[in-house]
Symmetry: C2
Subunit: 206 residues, 2 copies
Amino acid sequence: MKIYDISMEIHPDMPVYKDLESKKPTFKNVANFKDNSHYETDVTMNVHSGTHVDFNLHMVESGSTSSDAKIEQYISEARVFDLSYVLESITKENLTNLAIRKGDFVIFKTRNSQDEGFNPNFVFVAESAAKYLAEIGIKGVGIDALGIERSQAGHPTHKALMEKQIIILEGLRLAHIRSGSYTLIALPLKLRGLDASPVRAILLGN
Amino acid sequence: MKIYDISMEIHPDMPVYKDLESKKPTFKNVANFKDNSHYETDVTMNVHSGTHVDFNLHMVESGSTSSDAKIEQYISEARVFDLSYVLESITKENLTNLAIRKGDFVIFKTRNSQDEGFNPNFVFVAESAAKYLAEIGIKGVGIDALGIERSQAGHPTHKALMEKQIIILEGLRLAHIRSGSYTLIALPLKLRGLDASPVRAILLGN
């Protein structure tokens, strides 16, 4: 059994959504060996930085939060599909032949995993695909983009998934991952009442 | 197989080391449904908040950091020992009968798991115990205190463990955990070059 790290590195110059300076993490040294006998850092980061899970509150007023997350759902069998051929967005048509089943945790590998920085034209999950996945009743969906959608007014992809309590895992790094079945571990931090959590996401497989 | 959450909840009023205000996390709302069509939060936290792993840089100048962490070491068989009878510190004498073996990941459950807030007299791992564990060559040690030591000039417990690259996992919540063998998952975030990382720590067991 091998362990594949599918997480983004978190640092002050990491790629962030739309490359906004306000979304870059900051690391502040608060104790060091000049002034103290130990070393400590404060981190400030938007909870949607890097590899993270969204909770419904991100898009739904009074929606469920990190406090409602059921930890056992974040250790799951998961299936990685290579959709590197998709250029713009993953649509229902791209999914209907994939034999996705109720309860699956699906992970979409796209050409995004080749990007070094933030690509404003990242491949996303279109509304038609989200509605299809919600109808099937999947458990979760992961993608190698900082957002599971872009350029869709009203955030219909997030909302279609969130209505069915489908886990949304964003910011994966999948260039080194082949299609197939794995065990996914992506445990959210035990943050009280928030709209997202950074995670260390890994796949266990052969 | 059951999943036991052994993590502290992270929130602005959580217990922190010495109850210092400067160590309390802050949650800053940066987008909400009054002004935006979504909701987002920035979190500021000391990386030693709540349940976390220490890296050598915390106590050793130019020591190894989160970037050097080998992810596979944070998924491990682990043995929980109930040392609730210890009142002050865990010493070598408390450990010699426990049949601790090379390569073990040991977790010490103490009376700290009964504390609601920060207890300045928390039970810690004394230097004699740390040296004993380092001699055996364990893989890691976890404890239900925000620090694995206190009141020891020069931090000899941390240093004895760090010299042997032994993982230090602090801030566990173990009141609901029985002695025995489990699988521990406590993956650090993929932070670049830091002295610690918050983790969501769980035990898998019967």
